[in-house]
Subunit: 282 residues, 2 copies
C-alpha cells in the first residue's frame, strides 16, 4: 500500500495534519514512538478552548480524535527516510511507502553535549561515514537507532567502538563490535575530537558518530539533505522543505514552541500537502 | 488607563493573543461586538484535542478561559482606530488608549456586492470623503458604523442620502439627512457609479460610501492606511502591519480560515507584541 502521506510524530502538529488530510479525503499514516516533549508537560492553560489539561491527557485526546477518524497510528521507531520514486520510511518494524512525508517530530536533536563543539563529531552515518573509512571511530548510543547507524558504518569503517554511556545495550549488534558500557567521563580534543574516556580508560579515536535515543527530526533531515536553519528544519511558506513532497511543521521548524502554533502549523501543512497531492495525482 | 494592548476580536485568534499577553505579564483589553464567523459554525471536529464542539460552545469556552485569567472583555462595537502618541480605539461606548493594537476581527469586508466593481465606491469616509466634497453621495448602511461614517462625511459633503437597503434605521442621525428605507433594486453605472434605484425611484449620485454592519478589520485597516493584500491585512513575519505597534492575526490576515490556524496566529502575534512592548518600555 502506498500512503498519501506518512506523518512522523503524533504530537499536536502531526495529529492535526493527520486529521486535516483524512478530512481532505487522503490516507495518512502516523508513525511515532512517543508523544515527544508534551509527554513531560504537567499543566497547559493557554491552549484555546481548554482551561486546563496535562500534556499526556492532551496527547491522548488528540490520538483518540485521530483514531475516531480512522487514521492509523503506528507506535514504531523511525530509523530512516529515503526517497526513490516515492518516500520510503523505515522503522524498527518494517518499511512504509508514501507519496509525501511530514516531519512533525519536535525539536529534539539528541545532541551529545560533551562532544557537540568538537570537529569530527557527526550525527549522520550516511552523510559522513565515508570521511572516516580507514579511521578509528566511536559510535555513541544504545538502541535501535544506534544499531541502524552501525549497519551503515560497518560497511565503511574498519574500527568501530560503541559507547552506551552507562546505558544497557538495547539492540542486537554483531558480537565482533566492541561495546563500552561504562559512562563516558570525558571527551578529549581541541578542536578535533581525539579520544573518549570511559570507565577509567582512554579510547583514542579519529571521529565520533552520535546516535543517542531515536532519530530526531533534525537527524532524519540531515540524512535526507534537507536544508536547516540553526536547529530547525527550513521550510517555505507552504511548509515544504527543499525536497519536493517532504514537509515539516510544529516544533521541528522552530519559532514558538507551543501547542497553539503546532496545531496551526499542522492544519496549514496538511492543506499544502493536499494541494500537492491534487497536482501530482499520477 | 493605557492598556498594553487592545485586541479587537474575541474569536480564537483574539482570545489566544489575550491569554498569551496576560501570561507574559501585560494588560490586554479585548473588544468585540460578537464572536464573528464562529458563531454560525455548527460542528467542529478538526480542532486538536476536542473531538466535537459547536462554534458558540468553543467561543464561550474561550471567553471563560480568558476571563479566568482576569482579562477584560468589552462587548462594544469598534467604530474607529487612530494613532496619536498611542492608539485610540473608539467604540459606541467610549475611547480606549493602548500602546499596541491587534486586529483579530475576521475576514468580513462588509462589501456591497452590487456596487463592488464600480468606480466611485468607497469603504472609508476618512480616506475618500474629500474626493466628493462638492458632489452628491450615497451612504449605504443602517447602524452605528454608518452613523460614524456619516459624521465624517457631513463635514465634507453637502448632499448625502442614506440608503438602509430595506433595513430599519438603527442609529440616530441628523433629521436633515434624507434616508431611503426601501431595498436597493439596482446600482447603475459603467464603469463609474451613476445612480441608485430604490423603491421604484432613481437617485443620481456621484459617489457611494458603504458602511454596512460593523466596521470590519478590512475597513478599520483602510481607515488607518494599513497595507492590504487582496481582502487580507498585510503583515510581516511578526504579524505586524506596516504601522508600528499595530498587529493582525487570524482570518484577518488570510490564509487558512480555520480555528487551528487562528489559534497558532494568536500565540505568535502575542509573542511579537510582547517583544515589541519589552523594547518600547517608556
Amino acid at each position: 500500500m502506498i500512503y498519501d502521506c506518512i506523518i512522523i510524530g503524533k504530537g499536536p502538529a502531526g495529529i492535526t495534519a493527520g486529521i486535516y488530510l483524512k478530512r481532505y479525503g487522503y490516507e495518512p499514516l502516523i508513525i511515532a514512538k512517543d508523544g515527544g516533549a508534551l509527554e513531560r508537560v504537567k499543566d497547559i492553560e493557554n491552549y484555546y478552548g481548554i482551561s486546563h489539561i496535562t500534556g499526556p491527557e492532551l496527547l491522548k485526546a488528540g490520538e483518540n480524535q485521530a483514531k475516531a477518524f480512522g487514521i492509523s497510528i503506528k507506535e514504531e521507531e523511525v530509523l530512516e527516510i529515503s526517497k526513490e520514486l516515492h518516500f520510503l520510511v523505515t522503522t524498527n518494524n518494517g518499511t512504509y511507502e508514501a507519496k509525501t512525508v511530514i516531519l512533525a517530530c519536535g525539536t529534539s536533536r539528541n545532541r551529545y553535549a560533551k562532544a557537540d563543539n568538537l570537529e569530527g563529531v557527526s550525527y549522520c552515518a550516511t552523510c559522513d561515514g565515508f570521511f572516516y573509512r580507514k579511521k578509528k571511530i566511536a559510535l555513541i548510543g544504545n538502541g535501535k537507532y544506534m544499531a541502524h547507524e552501525l549497519s551503515v558504518l560497518e560497511n565503511i569503517c574498519k574500527d568501530i567502538t560503541v559507547f552506551t554511556d552507562g546505558k544497557p545495550l538495547e539492540a542486537e549488534i554483531h558480537s565482533s563490535i566492541p561495546v563500552v558500557l561504562e559512562p563516558i567521563n570525558k571527551v578529549i580534543g581541541n578542536p578535533h575530537i581525539e579520544a573518549i574516556e570511559a570507565g577509567g580508560k582512554s579510547y583514542p579515536i579519529d571521529g565520533c558518530f552520535v546516535a543517542i535515543g531515536n532519530a530526531s527530526g533534525f537527524t532524519l533531515a540531515k540524512h535526507l539533505g534537507i536544508g536547516l536553519k540553526g536547529n530547525s528544519i527550513l521550510v517555505d511558506e507552504n511548509l515544504m522543505t527543499n525536497i519536493e513532497g517532504l514537509y515539516s511543521c510544529g516544533d521541528s521548524i522552530g519559532g514558538l514552541l507551543q501547542v497553539s502554533k503546532a496545531v496551526g502549523d499542522g492544519a496549514v501543512c496538511a492543506t499544502s500537502v493536499s494541494n500537492y497531492l491534487k497536482m501530482h495525482k499520477s
